[in-house]
C-alpha cells in the first residue's frame, strides 16, 4: 500500500503512483502488487489517509474481481504526509481505534512526518521567528497579516532572493538560519549550506505563516504553542544575553490542550505516533529538509526508545537538501533491505540519528547516499 503526500487544499482528489512510475515498475518486477488511494479528502487529513488506505487494502479481493489469492503479506509505505500515514498506521492506538483495521507486516515512512505535533510546532516557530527577526514581530496570534508582510519579512532576512536560492543576510538572516538549525536537529551537513537556502522550501514553509494553529481546519482548536521554547542561534551551554532578551520579546502562544482529543468511533483527527509499533519500520530522511525536518527522525527514535522498540526501527540519513529528494537507487536499496527484513531476513543497517557528534560529522549521511547533489559535498574525495 502506498500513501501519497500532502495534495494541497483543492477539491479534486487524485491518485499518484508510488514515488515514481519507475519505482512502481520496479515493485512489479519484483513480484509485488501495489495499491494507492487518492484519499477521500485533501488538506492534512491523515485520518482519511489511514482509513482510506486501510479500506482499500481490505477490498483488494473485491476490487480485483477476486482474480488473485489473498496477499501473503501487506506492507505500507508513504512519503511526507504519506509517511505520517504509514507510521501512524502501525501504531497501537490506530490498531485499536481505526474503523478499518489492517495489521500491516511492515512500514516504510519516507521523509515522513513522524511526530505530527512537532511538525506544526516547527512551522509555527519558524514563521514566528522569521517575523520577529525581520523586525515585524507579531503582537497577537494568529498573525493574520503575515502573508501581506511576507515581502518585507523576506527583505529583512535575505540579502539575495532568486528563483532557486535565498541567501540569508549577515545578522538577522543568519540568526534565523541558526535558530532553524537548532530547532530541526542541530548541526549537521547539508542543512545550513544548502537546505536552508532552498527557494522552493523557504516559500513552502513561509507560506504557512499566520496560520491559526488548527492545521487549516483539521482540528477545531489550536495545537501550536511556544510558552516553554527557548530560541537559540548559538551552540553554547546557556543562552547569550542577546538570546535571552530576544526570548523575552518574542510572542508567546498557548496551545489548547484539548486540540486533538480521542474521537468516539474512530481515529483522532491527527492520529498519534508514539513509537508503539510491533513490525519492522525503515525510515529515510534528507538532512537538509526545511519543510519536514530531520528532527522528526530524532523524535521518532526517542518515542520508540521509550517503548523499548528500537530493534524494530532502522533510520537512514541522505545527503540532500530538498524535502523527499531521494535518488532512485536510494529508494530501491531501502525498499529491498526493508522487504528482506520484513520477510525474515536480518535487520538492515541504519544511521545513528541521535549522537550530536556523529550527526555533525562532515561525512554524516554518506553510508546510504548514492548520488551527489549540486551544492552538497561528495562523500568520496
Amino acid at each position: 500500500m502506498y500513501a501519497h503526500g500532502y495534495a494541497g487544499t483543492g477539491e479534486a482528489l487524485n491518485v499518484t503512483p508510488p514515488i515514481s512510475a519507475d519505482f512502481g515498475n520496479y515493485m512489479l518486477s519484483q513480484g509485488y502488487a501495489w495499491a494507492a488511494s487518492s484519499y477521500s479528502a485533501n488538506y492534512y487529513d491523515v485520518r482519511a489517509g489511514i482509513e482510506d488506505t486501510n479500506a482499500l487494502a481490505q477490498q483488494f479481493g473485491v476490487l480485483t474481481q477476486n482474480r488473485y489469492t489473498a496477499p501473503k503479506a501487506t506492507y505500507i509505505m508513504g512519503v511526507s504526509m504519506g509517511g505520517n500515514v504509514a507510521a501512524a498506521a502501525v501504531e497501537a492506538e490506530t490498531l485499536a481505534t481505526a474503523k478499518h483495521k489492517v495489521r500491516y507486516d511492515a512500514a516504510m515512512p519516507l521523509c515522513g512526518v513522524l511526530d505530527p505535533p512537532y511538525e506544526f510546532q516547527w512551522l509555527g516557530d519558524y514563521t514566528l521567528n522569521a517575523q520577529q527577526l525581520a523586525g515585524y514581530g507579531a503582537a497577537s496570534s494568529p498573525a493574520s497579516g503575515f502573508q501581506a508582510l511576507l515581502p518585507d519579512i523576506t527583505a529583512g532576512l535575505f540579502s539575495s532572493v532568486t528563483d532557486t536560492t535565498w541567501t540569508p543576510n549577515a545578522v538577522q538572516g543568519a540568526r534565523l538560519r541558526d535558530v532553524a538549525l537548532n530547532l530541526t536537529g542541530g548541526p549537521r551537513p547539508v542543512f545550513d549550506a544548502v537546505g536552508f537556502e532552498s527557494a522552493t522550501w523557504q516559500k513552502a514553509v513561509l507560506g504557512t505563516g499566520g496560520s491559526d494553529g488548527t492545521i487549516n481546519g483539521i482540528l477545531a482548536k489550536p495545537i501550536y504553542g511556544n510558552p516553554d521554547v527557548t530560541y537559540r542561534w548559538t551552540q553554547g551551554a546557556a543562552p547569550t544575553a542577546a538570546e535571552t532578551a530576544y526570548n523575552q520579546s518574542i510572542l508567546r502562544v498557548t496551545a489548547d490542550p484539548a486540540a486533538n482529543p480521542p474521537q468516539s468511533g474512530g481515529l483522532r483527527w491527527l492520529p498519534v505516533i508514539e513509537g508503539t509499533f510491533k513490525v519492522p519500520v525503515l525510515t529515510m530522511h534528507t538532512l537538509g529538509d526545511l519543510y519536514v525536518p530531520f528532527g522528526h527522525e530524532m523524535h521518532y527514535f526517542k518515542a520508540d526508545q521509550q517503548n523499548g522498540n528500537t530493534v524494530l526501527l532502522v533510520q537512514r540519513a541522505i545527503r540532500a537538501a530538498g524535502h523527499c529528494e531521494f535518488a532512485g537507487p536510494e529508494v530501491v536499496t531501502a525498499f529491498n533491505d526493508w522487504m528482506a527484513w520484513a520477510s525474515g531476513g536480518p535487520r538492515p543497517a541504519g544511521d545513528d540519528v541521535m549522537t550530536p557528534s556523529t550527526i555533525a560529522d562532515v561525512k554524516y549521511g554518506c553510508k546510504f547516499t548514492l548520488a551527489t547533489r549540486p551544492g552538497v559535498d561528495a562523500c568520496t574525495p
Binding site: A12, N14, V15, Y39, S40, A41, N42, D52, R67, Y68
Partner: protein, 78 residues
C-alpha cells in the same frame, strides 16, 4: 474525639464522598468539537493509469472516510 468532633468528621466525610461521587459521575469526555474539514466537499477524479506490460491494472472509485476516493491497484501477472 468528642461527639461534636465526631459529627464534624462524619459531615466532612459525607461531604467528601458526595464530592467524589459528583466528580466521578461527571462525563470525562469533552463535548464534541466541530471542525472545518467536516464541512468541505471533495471530488474524486477518475484515475486513468495505463497497464504496464506484464501487469494488470484495476482502478476506479470506492467509499472512503469523507466520501468517494479514487484507487489504483496494479498486480504483476506472474
Amino acid at each position: 474525639m468528642n461527639l461534636s468532633h465526631r459529627r464534624f468528621a462524619s459531615l466532612l466525610l459525607s461531604g467528601l464522598l458526595l464530592t467524589a461521587c459528583t466528580m466521578t459521575s461527571r462525563p470525562t469526555t469533552q463535548p464534541p468539537q466541530t471542525r472545518l474539514q467536516d464541512s468541505r466537499v471533495f471530488t474524486a477524479a477518475t484515475p486513468t493509469f495505463p497497464a504496464l506490460p506484464g501487469a494488470s491494472v484495476y482502478q476506479g472509485g470506492y467509499d472512503g472516510e469523507h466520501g468517494k476516493a479514487g484507487y489504483v491497484i496494479e498486480v504483476p501477472d506472474k
